[in-house]
Symmetry: C2
Subunit: 309 residues, 2 copies
């Protein structure tokens, strides 16, 4: 398309702040037109979106803005205009969609939080909640490459074991007493907990942590849809077991991105790390795709394909 | 007294596991006799106790033993026989009683947890709960020596400010909404929280922490007397504010003891650090002294004087 040409531009707009689980009707598809032109003499860039990714943390930004640190709420009806954090992709030997999660912020989260916060050692016991998410998949595989024992929780137990090489896995929805379940899967206790869930899961984990355990808090998906945060009762074990717990935000570790990218693409091309995506096609499917991840519908990373090139 | 002589030996014995607040009747004073003699050829030592100290963490050991990490419950009716951790006191220029707390485990807790876990920087905002305890007193004074702003909570507001040089202090018992109180005392937020309390206090603190804040968990006095641990709702802020929270146990930092002792005795003799004790005399007063610290009766460290030399 020629520069300056006016083209139609479809958008998904957040209509209202969301309470509880997001619904498709919280978003709407609107069409406008856009001129393929940046302001004269500016450093702006005009972007054609090829892929969108559905990330659980988007939910936090769909609620009324509060003092939540880095999770700044969206302003309903407005567009996201911050472009200063854009990166140019140099390695195109892997599917471009991978950069929306696996080779993007989620991948770097897994890498930096696991190696920098959890300080893993060979033979340690690693528990990954929400193990089927992009971050969880990768943490489990990094942990296996380190020689750790890894178990995860998520609906897709078989895939975690056969596809991602987890030592064991259980479906937390089928378990009545998470603390006993964890005791069964980790009779020696847990050295490293990769926290993506929060709430009752965290409580059960605290009971099962070993002395000097480490907990990287990378997400608390169980809390995102709640108006009121859930209580965690077992924090006393932080004290008695000398546990380290650290909230993690990937942008603090941006300097590790080149090293992460090199390592991970190498593992990927050698087949030592695998990645599963669940791709739907068409922007109009984005609301249902995003809503679906909170209902546990996706098998692997949910990606919306907008255009092939 | 000559070696081999038989002398009377008074003891305070824990009668039963304690539930709720400890009462004087949970302990009893018994008398027995002891021969002033160690087994032939052994490395044992015979000790004459001069001082006992009343430490809130003793409460944890008075409840039924559970998997609480290093807090091993006492066995009612039995004596404590582990002597391998005894240290000989070399510097006697300061009152010997100081070694039961200020120059002992509590002091090292304050020193190591503050400098090693909290990584303080000049100008940072430090909040100390249970600030009038041995640990709290010292942390506040170390923080002032570092050039931090320090506020603490405890009943004895004036003493915290005039005696220990805290910038500010409030009585948490007079405050209805701790989160708003902390907002008033720390309008810029809290960089370092020295956690001795737990429960609702921790919840209020989490709301008021700054980005990249640090929380050293050294005690949770509000939880020791509870049969069921209290829920903490605001852990989500660990994530959004990238907070580090670490359970601390002093014996992990034993290697810092010589350096701590040298620094602290120097500050003490130069008058840069002060210490307040609340001494009662006679072993028979030990149960009421210990019970009293949970009722907020003591002004400074509660010490039981048994013998002057």
């Amino acid at each position: 398309m020629a520069s300056g040409e006016e083209v139609s531009n479809q958008q998904i707009i957040l209509k209202n702040y969301v309470t509880g689980f997001p619904k498709e009707t919280d978003m709407e598809v609107v069409s406008s037109s856009i001129k393929l032109k940046v302001p004269e003499g500016s450093n702006s860039i005009l972007v054609k979106n090829l892929y969108l990714s559905c990330d659980p943390s988007l939910r936090v930004r769909m609620r009324k803005p509060e003092n939540l640190g880095y999770f700044v709420g969206f302003t309903p009806g407005s567009c996201h205009t911050r472009t200063e954090t854009f990166r140019k992709i140099t390695c195109t030997d892997v599917p471009l969609s991978y950069y929306t999660g696996f080779l993007g912020m989620n991948g770097l989260t897994a890498y930096a939080a696991f190696f920098e916060v959890c300080s893993p050692k060979k033979g340690e016991y690693v528990y990954v909640s929400a193990a089927f998410g992009t971050v969880g998949q990768l943490v489990g595989q990094f942990a296996k490459l380190m020689g750790c024992y890894v178990a995860g929780s998520k609906e897709k137990v078989d895939l975690l074991k056969t596809k991602f090489g987890f030592d064991d896995a259980f479906n937390y929805k089928e378990e009545e007493d998470l603390a006993s379940t964890l005791k069964r899967y980790f009779p020696e206790g847990i050295d490293i907990y990769f926290e993506n869930v929060g709430g009752v899961m965290l409580d059960a984990v605290l009971l099962n942590m070993r002395l000097h355990g480490r907990i990287a808090v990378c997400g608390m998906i169980s809390q995102y849809n709640r108006a009121k945060l859930e209580g965690v009762n077992n924090l006393f074990y932080l004290l008695t077991k000398r546990i380290l717990m650290r909230g993690f935000f990937v942008l603090d570790y941006g300097h590790l991105y080149p090293q992460f990218l090199e390592t991970t693409i190498k593992h990927l091309t050698e087949g030592k790390i695998v990645y599963v995506e669940d791709v739907v096609e068409g922007l109009e499917k984005a609301p249902s795709a995003l809503v679906g991840i909170f209902q546990g519908h996706s098998v692997g990373r949910k990606v919306v394909l907008l255009a092939r090139d």
